[in-house]
Symmetry: C2
């Protein structure tokens, strides 16, 4: 079986590093336990007040199923040339937030999907973990 | 609330397109329902015989929890310049596969994390869905 020749193990990221990295990306993957089992969908997101925020349509699976439930939000950055990467996973409860309580930065966040995204969801992480792979020097090429 | 100015909705990908796109990436996110709730982790993967394959450590959370369970595997490609993207989600049951039944392409697949990854997992999707966002011409910039 082919295994990588490098020996440097992935680095476990500190919470500080996770929170430093989270705002640097624009796409997260939200996973949750839906009525048909585990579901996952990519979303644009933003980080404000130590929470993750995203917007969706009220009638989407995410919009209908996520309120009050535990979600896992994954953000990563992959360098296909160096074979380096980092990944951060935030675990928390998703809450639909009413208009008056939505920060301006969330109202103004860029959403790549055209059309209204009127449902605003906030995830307050109770656990944030991450790791980093070191890339070229250690990767099997 | 700021909403994108474009009107072209995301395209729903056909199964053919999903299977055409899946082999073009190297990193997938596997989500499953673990003892503590929904979990998610990025993995290297390969596509062989209309199945998704990845390798992990037997004592990782993924390795310990995933066998026989329903998983959601997400693969995407994000163009940060154009704000275009596609995403494919495959739903299926994960099966740990014994050595003799593992195709050579899986044994030889590139795994970015150094160290042995002796547990081979196959996911036979029962549902494959995807969508494409069109990017610059339609995105809110």
């Amino acid at each position: 079986m082919t295994t990588p020749s490098g020996t440097r193990p992935p680095a476990v990221l500190t919470a500080y590093d996770c929170w430093r990295l989270l705002p640097t990306e624009e796409v997260a993957r939200v996973a949750w336990s839906g009525p048909d089992g585990t579901a996952i969908v990519p979303v644009n997101y933003t980080v404000t007040h130590q929470s993750l925020w995203f917007r969706t349509q009220p009638y989407s699976a995410l919009g209908r199923q996520v309120h009050g439930g535990r979600v896992a939000v994954e953000v990563d950055h992959v360098d296909h040339v160096d074979k380096s990467a980092w990944s951060v996973v935030a675990i928390g409860t998703a809450q639909v937030v009413d208009g008056d309580e939505v920060p301006d930065s969330v109202l103004q966040m860029r959403v790549w999907v055209p059309g209204p995204r009127s449902l605003v969801v906030r995830v307050d992480p109770v656990e944030v973990t991450g790791r980093r792979l070191w890339g070229r020097a250690d990767a099997n090429r």
